[in-house]
Symmetry: C2
Subunit: 317 residues, 2 copies
């Protein structure tokens, strides 16, 4: 099956009238696409347009693509109309497997041949969603982070019947459309980002349950501690750069034993040589030869900007 070139897509269909569906519509409109929004009922239109108007403020501040306009949205309660001529379909229907299976049975028939269909699901597996779909090879997970019109991450993976080439196409398309795509290695529950967030969230709930911290304590700790740094350096590179010349190797070889300390209720994995090397090699690849002092300077510049941005947002600016 031939697909359109990722640069040739003119129209995106966003299926679903909730905040995720409307948020995706806002994103694609801001990137200069025609968007057909499918809603279950036209009674959802006012709410949908409110999400769009709110998103547009931020999208305008970030910079719209040439020709981008909210006027290029067509809202419809007719699924066939929505997907006609679409070069890409983003599905954000409610998180019920039976509903999605039925929907994909239909989408698989009516979406133009070769066009990739991506699901925003955060909790379901594509292998299950595509079970009744007559053209499952072009269906993938394309999971955004809330709010989807602002946070760049999209986690991508196929199901058992998905073509690897469809996964690659989705990655290239999302990148072209201004997103930060992450193709997952395995179909694991929670994907990557939500697993990390859930580990943190569960530890937070444990602390609140044990009277060790209040919800406010949790939030103060995150906002003023790791978060402003995580926006410029993920946890791997944060440790890599903080350890200076020695980088991640020093972190693991020197502080590895600390993994056995009872910091969090999450048991640590065995720090095998293989795991150590994967971490060290991965960080060295990301550093790409840059000196740790340059990366630390970049980090500091970003943190200054992050702190100023948060302060300005709180002041209503």
């Amino acid at each position: 099956m031939t697909r359109p070139a990722v640069t040739a897509v003119k129209k995106v269909a966003s299926i679903g009238g909730g905040p995720i569906g409307a948020g995706w519509a806002a994103h694609f409109l801001a990137r200069g696409y025609d968007v057909a929004g499918y809603v279950h009922s036209m009674a959802e239109e006012a709410t949908y347009r409110k999400v769009l108007d709110t998103a547009w403020i931020s999208l305008t501040a970030l910079g719209l693509a040439p020709g981008a306009s909210r006027e290029r949205l067509t809202l419809t309660d007719n699924l066939e109309t929505a997907v006609a001529d679409a070069g890409f379909v983003q599905e954000s229907a409610p998180e019920r497997l039976d509903l999605k299976q039925t929907l994909y049975e239909k989408l698989g028939r009516i979406v133009p041949p070769g066009v990739v269909i991506a699901s925003s699901t955060s909790g379901l597996m594509m292998t299950d969603i595509q079970a009744l779909c007559p053209t499952p090879e072009r269906t993938v997970i394309g999971h955004p982070f809330n709010p989807p019109y602002l946070l760049p991450l999209v986690e991508i993976i196929g199901g058992g019947k998905t073509s690897p080439e469809a996964v690659a196409w989705a990655r290239d398309f999302y990148a072209h459309a201004g997103k930060a795509p992450l193709v997952m290695k395995k179909e694991i529950p929670g994907f990557v980002a939500t697993r990390l967030q859930e580990a943190l969230w569960r530890e937070a709930l444990h602390m609140v349950a044990n009277g060790e911290a209040t919800p406010e304590d949790i939030d103060i700790a995150l906002m003023n501690g790791p978060a402003p740094r995580l926006a410029i350096q993920g946890q791997c590179m944060a440790f890599h750069v903080a350890c200076g010349e020695g980088g991640m190797a020093t972190n693991l070889d020197q502080f590895g034993p600390a993994l056995k300390l009872p910091w969090t209720r999450l048991a640590a994995p065995e720090l095998t040589k293989e795991l150590r090397d994967r971490m060290v090699d991965g960080c060295n690849e990301m550093a790409a030869g840059r000196h740790f002092e340059d990366m630390a300077a970049e980090r500091d510049r970003a943190i200054v900007g992050v702190l100023k941005a948060v302060k300005a947002a709180r002041a209503g600016a």
Copy 2:
């Protein structure tokens, strides 16, 4: 024991010549204090001043206090000289209990009466550190986040012999000195922020060990997913605001069962009514009557600024 008023402190002693000690010195200098930096050997001076000069770029960008100057640093290898006339002591010596115990035995004698002594330790308990100190009632943990001259968080807790009033004084002093103090409820390993970060880190190591993600995948997911939002809303308020009118109550009542899903290797706590109510009440207190749409708008403004700041930092601006 009477202490100086937090607003009356003119001089801070920063004990330790590593990046944390020098980073603290930079912070207090930028806030307009005289700082006496104690180093084990004057051979550390060049490295110390390099940390200071690097920090000063960011601190200047954030805005210096009136009269703030690097000239107001006195560097010495004499501990008595460093703490003489100090109104506050921040200790950042190496993380060895025997070393810290011996140090606190001495600090307890030579630091002016009533002056609070705070330890930057990330892994030791004040109950242990203060064991040999003749004046333990004024010793507290004051744990910063790296880099300490930029990230606002300071986690505070006393040991078994610490006066609660010294803890309150430290909280007020850090707040006056431009930090975001968090007084912990219990002396738990890893405190609050590091526990949360460690939960996330261990899940990341598990994923890399299982071939589910590379270090780069982990960092892409964090930087483009939760991080830009966590800088303006901790995880509690992020969920509270994302659930609209229903807030945290909707999150827990509707998605509570998802806690049992195998998202992360960290087992979830039992979602008792007590835990639910603590979470809901805590979020309502933080919201302080603000409408979720206003908080979402504030979040979006901050994320736009965070994304711009990160982009500018990467471009070298």
